[in-house]
Symmetry: C2
Subunit: 213 residues, 2 copies
């Protein structure tokens, strides 16, 4: 069932909006997928990601409430929605985490002193905005890896933003100032046909990179 | 040379900070890697990513100037640095891009009207901050895909943030209000040994996801 063909997994990923309603995803498989997702990198390894999984008709209905009607086809056929949150206060565990890496023998005392001296102040003296950006960026790295891991497991996804962000944390009983919604990822078994599949084009690669001079 | 083993590419990725100095990456291969990177999704397919590639001693030296000394080992041994920028004004091509998708036959007139009515106003009436977040998020998705594509090509990477962001766009002659630095990705052929390799641990998966109730 696992698709281990890197090129196929990555290059044939596209946003799927029509799923096979009969397919559910076992919770044990979600655990596997998250284990395989969180090897993604994050700023200073702060791992400020939190995933809320709506995988029952009741919880999916709660998510649907804050979605735009544009997304009804996905919401009405998916197996689950993974709402990705950025923990803006992830940096509060900075000292504890890196001290543990030193105690485990993963880094030297010199490295520990260096990271505490170099990076911790940039969080502690940073603005709410800069801490939010840092966490959103790391969560997006994990979100991309999750979408690919999902395909490795035989599922497809559609990342969704553009909903009213103000009510989302509360939907999951999370503190809204601490947990910012990054994106929702709809997941399920694709039921897409050539006809229903949305096709999108990309700018030519040459227009998006440049060799510095 | 290509490693098509999905599990190996994704699960054995880690930040590499020591590279084989003798290995350069052909510019034609950068083109391939970017072609394989930009199939990543982006908010409303706006593709607000711009990659500046420093792959000469002179341009790498320019990047090194705004990096923290912490990153010297990578900077002194890598084949190149890809500085990822978020184009905050990517949405200005919204109408043009989606009209083209309609004209190409990729979407119906109804879908075109729907996306123009639903999402375009959220950008046009959005704040600078909300447009920046949207673009940074999409760029981070592409950044993750780039790091995995790099491994598929036999290279390794290290994503870097935490530098003085104010001077970076100017280093590449880009307009600083429009182009925000997302992260720098150092790339090269790994020369890491068990001894030099930084090991990091992750929180247990169970602590980062939750089934909504």
């Amino acid at each position: 069932m696992r698709n281990n063909d890197f090129n196929d997994v990555v290059q044939n990923r596209h946003s799927v909006r029509h799923f096979d309603k009969s397919v559910k995803i076992p919770r044990s498989e979600f655990k596997e997928m998250f284990e395989e997702t969180i090897t993604a990198p994050s700023g200073c390894n702060l791992q400020g990601w939190h995933f809320e999984v709506a995988d029952t008709p009741e919880t999916i209905a709660k998510v649907k409430k804050y979605m735009l009607r544009f997304n009804d086809p996905q919401m009405d056929s998916c197996a689950a929605v993974v709402q990705v949150f950025a923990d803006v206060y992830a940096y509060k565990k900075y000292r504890e985490n890196w001290t543990k890496e030193y105690e485990t023998g993963n880094i030297t005392k010199e490295k520990l002193d260096e990271v505490l001296r170099t990076f911790l102040p940039s969080y502690e003296n940073g603005t709410y905005y800069s801490c939010a950006i840092d966490s959103i960026r790391s969560c997006s790295l994990a979100a991309m890896q999750f979408m690919l891991v999902a395909r490795n497991h035989g599922y497809d996804t559609n990342p969704i933003a553009g909903y009213d962000e103000s009510k989302i944390a509360r939907t999951f009983n999370l503190e809204p100032k601490r947990y910012l919604p990054v994106m929702a990822i709809v997941i399920g078994k694709s039921n897409e046909t050539e006809e229903t599949r949305a096709k999108t084009t990309r700018y030519p690669a040459e227009s998006v990179y440049h060799f510095a001079e």
